[in-house]
């Protein structure tokens, strides 16, 4: 039973014709839309490597059936930096050495962007640790990840205040 859906991915509309309802958002991105920046770590919602934003909120793309996402807006790691300028979270990840192998990194960054938007953690390291616990890092760059999210949160808040002023 084919499904035709419209997805906006990183600001670009895609008409997707799905011949198979089993295709997850993750596999759609990686195998059919040539957006392999989003990673598969467990394919079961247990590691967070596949995190993307769906309508602005972080989600595990491995557990979403693509055919159910008609009309959704998806942001992946490829869509985060506008015009070559790094997002503050990306910059903070580099500055704080918040990754080693880099495989979980797109998911970590998208999760951090989602967490900051939720406003749940602020710059409290314990709340950041809790809020980022859905993203496993086997290299265990957690110390840097927490610092990076803290720093990016502050920087974004400051930028926002300056923009408002």
């Amino acid at each position: 039973m084919p499904h035709s859906i419209t997805l906006t991915v990183n600001g670009r509309a895609h008409e997707v014709h799905l011949d198979d309802p089993r295709v997850t958002l993750l596999d759609l991105l990686r195998e059919r839309l040539a957006l392999a920046g989003t990673k598969k770590g467990c394919d079961r919602g247990q590691c967070g490597a596949c995190t993307v934003l769906v309508n602005g909120r972080r989600a595990n793309s491995c557990l979403m059936l693509a055919a159910t996402l008609d009309g959704c807006e998806i942001t992946t790691i490829e869509g985060l930096s506008e015009g070559g300028d790094l997002h503050p979270v990306q910059t903070a990840f580099i500055e704080n050495d918040a990754f080693q192998c880099g495989y979980c990194t797109p998911g970590q960054i998208m999760s951090a962007v989602g967490l900051i938007a939720e406003g749940r953690a602020g710059d409290d390291p314990e709340r950041i640790r809790e809020g980022m616990s859905g993203n496993l890092c086997r290299c265990a760059a957690y110390h840097g990840i927490t610092l990076a999210v803290q720093e990016a949160t502050r920087r974004m808040a400051k930028d926002e205040m300056e923009d408002a002023a």
Partner: protein, 351 residues
């Protein structure tokens, strides 16, 4: 993953009409899609409820109860100001579960329908009466250290993994369902079933029935000042409970006027303990009292395998949760919800 038909109805009526044996409702998909990937579940048809915006409302009804749409996400519900104010341990339980990503996806109804984490249920190559009736139970002689110590049967020793359902049980939530023969309500205590000889029957839902909403009674908000959820787990976050307790006290003049508590991860359903609650009524809160209540709560607990230790853990978890509730609901959600590692000091909320 086995192939399936996917339909996306636009109304509840359409959804119900679309149901047929072998069909599954698809909400957030965090549990169902996962189990379809392992092969533990093989629905022939998925009825995606994603277009039913009507199931995403949270409202306060004229009688003061709160009605929560079946598709409200765990994250939205946990952050709902009215829930936080009136039923804070519901938020704490939700926020202690899964991850930020999963809570954004997972729904209220999906959480109620969450399947056991028993490894033998998840593994399609293992014998499991719950997944495949009549095949036996590999857990009985297998890796069962985390399985049930209450309410289990020879057929099944699985536990219900939900955090959310534990405070719901303590707070007398009501499940609203709609089905081919109309609408009805199911008390949360009747919603999940103990395994008995038919562990495949997990809930009171009849074939084709769909959860449309959850109601929290107005009276249950009377516990908000002294309500906590405590979750014992194997890592600090992103882990299922091995024992948990939702405890709520209504205090009057330094005494417990009324107590509610329920245990999680010890049985195939949230374990509400009315007799133990009764022990608390009218008493001044102290450790010895909470211990007595906890002992009463675990009365009848027996090991179903290599898990006798969970009986004692359940007692201690209950006693501690009661003590935490007595200390007062914190003003702000702890950084580590439901964790013993959250700072216990700080001003209680005056709600």
């Amino acid at each position: 993953m086995k192939s399936f038909d996917l339909i996306r109805p636009a109304t509840v009526q359409e959804a119900i009409a679309a149901w047929e044996p072998g069909a599954s409702w698809l909400g957030g998909g965090t549990n169902l899609v996962d189990l379809m990937k392992t092969g533990a579940l093989e629905p022939g048809k998925l009825i995606d409820l994603g277009r039913l915006a009507v199931l995403r409302d949270v409202e306060t009804l004229p009688d003061g109860s709160m009605r929560i749409g079946a598709l409200v996400s765990n994250a939205d519900l946990a952050d709902n100001p009215e829930i936080l104010r009136r039923y804070p341990m519901v938020s704490e339980a939700l926020l202690s579960g899964a991850s930020g990503q999963l809570r954004n996806m997972a729904t209220v109804a999906g959480n109620l329908m969450q399947r056991t984490r028993c490894a033998y249920f998840q593994d399609p190559y293992a014998a499991c009466n719950r997944r495949a009736p009549g095949t036996g139970c590999d857990a009985r002689e297998g890796e069962n250290a985390n399985l049930a110590v209450l309410g289990w049967s020879d057929a099944c020793i699985a536990t219900n993994p939900s955090d959310f359902c534990v405070p719901l049980s303590a707070l007398d939530a009501v499940v609203e369902v709609a089905g081919p023969s109309g609408e009805r309500e199911i008390a949360i205590g009747d919603f999940h079933l103990l395994p008995g000889d038919t562990p495949e029957r997990e809930t009171a839902l009849q074939p084709g029935e769909l959860i449309v909403a959850l109601r929290l009674p107005a009276a249950s908000s009377g516990f908000a000042a002294n309500a906590r959820y405590l979750k014992v787990r194997e890592r600090t976050s992103f882990a299922f409970a091995i024992a948990s307790c939702a405890a709520a006290l209504r205090m009057e003049g330094g005494r417990i006027a009324e107590a509610r508590f329920a245990l999680g991860a010890l049985a195939a359903k949230p374990w509400r303990v009315s007799e133990a609650e009764a022990l608390l009524a009218g008493q001044a809160p102290d450790a010895a009292l909470f211990e007595r209540a906890a002992n009463a709560a675990l009365a009848g607990a027996t090991a179903s395998g290599d898990n006798a230790w969970k009986i004692e853990l359940g007692r201690r978890t209950a006693a501690r949760a009661l003590a935490m509730a007595a200390a007062g609901t914190p003003q702000r959600m702890p950084a580590l919800p439901a964790s013993v590692f959250a700072a216990q000091a700080g001003e209680p909320a005056h709600v």
